[in-house]
């Protein structure tokens, strides 16, 4: 059991990385990997929200299956995600104002970050159990965060080099560095 969970966890980080293998969560990936600090802030917020929403969505999907209304799961999932984000924001504002100041601005953006919905959809497609789902969600979010932090680090160094052609500046060069990173991570294929 423990070994199985470890396999789910490690494979969701390295072999099936959300950002570099499935190419998900790219909009914030491109726009936020320009500086290391914002990348870390967004990453932490994503880990928190993804794990929480997967844990909430799993029992709700069971309920939909039991009532034979699983056709509605897109609508239900996206409402759950939006509501969770709103709730987390309110709780943080009330009880942890310091935390809210640190990554509060990233929370509203998360609702439209496709990785949150994607993790819940993969959970349904792969028919994971509850514990598997939570571990998979946590691992995927960690993998995504790792990828965005590494790319941000590369881009902070690239700024010092300079001399990038005009049209390639910004998103173009971020994508090239992400591509090289994706090549590197392909080396893990078959490990788990």
């Amino acid at each position: 059991m423990a070994i199985h969970l470890l396999i789910v966890f490690v494979s969701s980080i390295v072999t099936y990385n959300m950002a570099l293998t499935y190419l998900l969560g790219m909009c914030p990936f491109i726009s936020l990997s320009r500086s290391l600090n914002t990348a870390i802030g967004m990453g932490v917020a994503v880990i928190f929200v993804v794990t929480l929403t997967a844990a909430i969505n799993w029992p709700i999907y069971r309920l939909l299956l039991m009532t034979g209304s699983e056709i509605l799961y897109y609508i239900i999932f996206i409402i759950v995600i939006a509501a969770t984000v709103q709730l987390v924001e309110m709780i943080m504002e009330r009880f942890f104002p310091a935390l809210q100041a640190a990554f509060g601005i990233f929370l509203p953006l998360i609702t439209v970050n496709c990785i949150v919905l994607a993790v819940s959809l993969f959970m349904v497609i792969r028919e994971y159990g509850f514990i598997d789902s939570v571990v998979f969600a946590f691992g995927s979010a960690c993998g995504w965060t790792g990828a965005i932090i590494v790319t941000a680090g590369i881009n902070e160094k690239l700024k010092l080099v300079g001399d990038i052609p005009g049209g390639m500046k910004g998103p173009g060069i971020i994508m090239v560095s992400a591509g090289i990173l994706a090549l590197a991570i392909m080396g893990f294929t078959g490990v788990v």
Partner: protein, 214 residues
């Protein structure tokens, strides 16, 4: 005559903005996830482009006709529920009529819900304009997204699999002598590199430059 000309030019401007000047992918950088992920085969790209265009146009009709009735505070959730309903229709349609494609683009159809093109256009355009211009805007954005996907997927499918729409296009003589399928092109890194090149070329042509970020 004057107002006729104005109408004409506004129609033309809406279309041109959508397909070139404010191109959703290379200029606004929206909808990158699916542009990268489903562009490994031309058939998938066309299916994805058509699905997105359908969702975009339907959302445009609903949101722009109801724009005076939607309370400002809950407009985001209204967009989401509208989009999600149409995505369910597309998903069921693909499952019923094109099971093969539905299988291979899998969760990415559901992810149209969080595709920022639809949300972005709803917030920036549909909520402020009447149905006529909204539908024009939706069509031109959908078209821009589709042709981007098709361009990228044509290159990726030929280089990665040696086929186009599933048909072999590499001459047999090449296959024997020097041609090797470039597997990386069909996988994630190839998508990144090709989209980077696409952005580079089209940004240079459209003279868009990102200022150095501080």
């Amino acid at each position: 005559m004057g107002s006729q000309g104005l109408l004409k030019s506004r129609t033309a401007k809406t279309i041109l903005d959508g397909i070139w000047r404010d191109h959703p992918v290379f200029s606004m950088l929206l909808g990158i996830c699916s542009a990268l992920a489903v562009s490994n085969r031309v058939a998938n790209a066309i299916a994805m482009g058509a699905s997105l265009t359908f969702v975009l146009v339907s959302t445009a009709i609903i949101i722009s006709s109801l724009r005076k009735m939607i309370p400002n505070r809950i407009r985001m959730i209204t967009y989401m529920i509208t989009i999600a309903s149409f995505v369910i229709i597309v998903d069921r349609f693909l499952k019923a009529f094109f099971p093969g494609i539905s299988e291979s683009i899998g969760p990415y159809v559901g992810l149209i819900i969080t595709n920022c093109i639809v949300m972005g256009r709803a917030e920036a355009f549909f909520i402020q304009n009447n149905p006529y211009y909204s539908v024009l805007d939706a069509l031109s954005n959908g078209f821009a997204y589709t042709y981007t996907l098709v361009i990228i997927s044509v290159v990726r499918e030929i280089l990665g699999f040696g086929t186009l729409l599933g048909v072999n296009v590499i001459p047999a003589a090449w296959l024997d002598s020097w041609w090797q399928n470039w597997v990386v092109m069909a996988m994630a890194p190839g998508a990144f590199f090709l989209l980077a090149v696409f952005i580079w070329i089209s940004r240079t042509l459209a003279k868009i430059e990102t200022k150095d970020m501080g």
